[in-house]
C-alpha cells in the first residue's frame, strides 16, 4: 500500500535513511508474534489430525485401534492430569511474579518443570511398553506421529521453563509487565501445549 506526505514550507526537511518503521497499534509486535506462532502450530497439529481421521475413518476397516493393539488409557489419563496440573502451577508462578511473591514464582516454575518432565518421562515409558512401533502400519505411524509431535512441543516448553527457572532463581523478573515477559510467554506456550494434549488425548485414547 502506498503512502505519501506533503510537507509545508516551514517544516520541510530532507529525510535521510530508511523510512520510520510503520507499526499498527491494533496489535503489538509481541502479541502478533505469539499469535502467528500459535496459528501456525494449530495448522501443524491440524495436518496430523487430518491424517489421523483419514486413516481412522476412511482407510480403516474394522475395529479401532486395529487388533491386537491396545492403548493404555488409564496411564495416559493420569499423564493428562499431570500435564493439566502444570498449567495451574505456571499460572501460580506468574501470579506470584505479578504480586512480587518471589517464592511462589520460584515454586510454581519448579513444579511446572517437574510436572512437565514427569509427563515426558511417562510418555517415553509408555512408548517402551506399548507393544507396537511407528513401523507397525498406519495406526502405529499416526499414533507416534501425533503423540511424538506433542512430546516434542513439551520438550521445547521444558527448555523455555528451564531458562525461566534459572532466571527466577538468579533473581530476575519483577512485578512490572515488561519484567516478567519471560514467564508470560513461556506460560502462553505451555498452556497451548496443554490444550493440544487434552485434544490429542481425547481424540486418540477416548474416542
Amino acid at each position: 500500500m502506498e503512502s505519501a506526505s506533503i510537507a509545508s514550507g516551514a517544516h520541510a526537511h530532507e529525510h535521510h535513511g530508511p523510512p520510520e518503521a510503520h507499526q499498527s497499534s491494533r496489535i503489538d509486535r509481541q502479541t502478533l508474534g505469539i499469535l502467528l506462532f500459535i496459528v501456525s502450530e494449530i495448522m501443524l497439529f491440524g495436518a496430523f489430525f487430518a491424517s489421523y481421521f483419514f486413516i481412522r475413518v476412511v482407510a480403516n476397516q474394522g475395529p479401532w485401534p486395529p487388533e491386537p493393539y491396545e492403548l493404555p488409557v488409564l496411564v495416559a489419563g493420569v499423564n493428562t492430569a499431570i500435564l493439566v496440573s502444570s498449567s495451574f502451577t505456571v499460572h501460580l508462578a506468574l501470579e506470584g511474579a505479578k504480586r512480587g511473591n518471589r517464592r511462589a514464582m520460584q515454586m510454581g516454575l519448579s513444579a511446572t518443570w517437574l510436572l512437565g518432565a514427569t509427563f515426558l518421562f511417562i510418555q517415553m515409558n509408555e512408548y517402551v511398553h506399548i507393544g507396537f512401533s511407528a513401523r507397525d502400519g498406519a495406526f502405529g505411524s499416526i499414533f507416534y506421529g501425533l503423540t511424538g509431535l506433542h512430546g516434542a512441543h513439551v520438550f521445547v516448553g521444558l527448555m523455555l521453563l528451564t531458562f525461566a527457572n534459572i532466571r527466577a532463581y538468579k533473581g530476575h523478573f519483577g512485578t512490572a509487565a515488561k519484567d516478567h515477559l519471560g514467564i508470560e510467554v513461556s506460560g502462553i506456550y505451555w498452556h497451548f501445549v496443554d490444550v493440544m494434549w487434552i485434544i490429542v488425548f481425547v481424540t486418540i485414547y477416548i474416542l
Binding site: 500500500m1 506526505s5 506533503i6 510537507a7 506460560g187 477416548i206
Partner: protein, 219 residues
Amino acid sequence: MGVKITESQMFRVVVIVGIAMVPVILLAAIVDPIAGAILFGIELGAGIGYLVQRVRTAAPGPAEVAPVPDDGTHRLLVVANETVGGRSLFAELERRLEGEPKSEILVLVPPLAGSAAEHWSSDIDDAIPEARERLEASVAAMREKGLHVTGRLGDHHDPNQAIEDALKVFPADEVVISTHPPERSRWLESGVIERARAELPQPVTHVVVDLEGETAETR
C-alpha cells in the same frame, strides 16, 4: 485499542477445554465413542463461534496516541477523503483556528476502500493517485489562505486506524472528520465518527460537506 493474548486468558482456555472434555469422555465411555465424538464436534463449533463473536463485538479501547505538548501551538488533525476540498470544511478550519497565535494542521486522506478484502487485493490502486491529487490541491488551497498545513495519505483501509496511526506522530489537540451527508457517506454508515469519539482522547468534530450543494451554489 488492541488485541492481547495473555497467560491468564490461555489459562482460562485450558480450564474451559478441560471442563468441556469431561462430558465428552463420560459420553464416550458410558454410551458410545461416536456420541462422544458428536459432542466434541458440537463443543468445538460452539467454541470457535464464541471466539469469532467475541472478536467481532469487542468494545474499542482507548487509542495509543502521542501526548499533546504544551508549547502554545494548536494542532488540528483533519481527516477527509473525497470531501477534503469542501468549502464547509475550509470554513470550519478557519473558524476553529481564528485567534490562535500558532497553529498546525495535518490533513489526512485515507483512500477509500470498502473492506479489508478490497484493501488487500489492491483494488484501491486507482483511488490512491486520485486521493493524492485531492490532498495536494487541498493543501495548496489552505496554504494560500495562510494556514500552516501538511498533508498525508493514510495507508489503511480502516479510517479509524489511519487516524490512530497519524496521531502517533502528530500530537493533535483536536480531530476534525469531514464526510459526505449521511445518505452518501460510507464512513458514517460504518460508524467512523462514533468509533473515533469512543477511542480518541481528543475532542472529535464532525463536519458534513455537501459537495453537490457547493457545486450547485457555485453555478
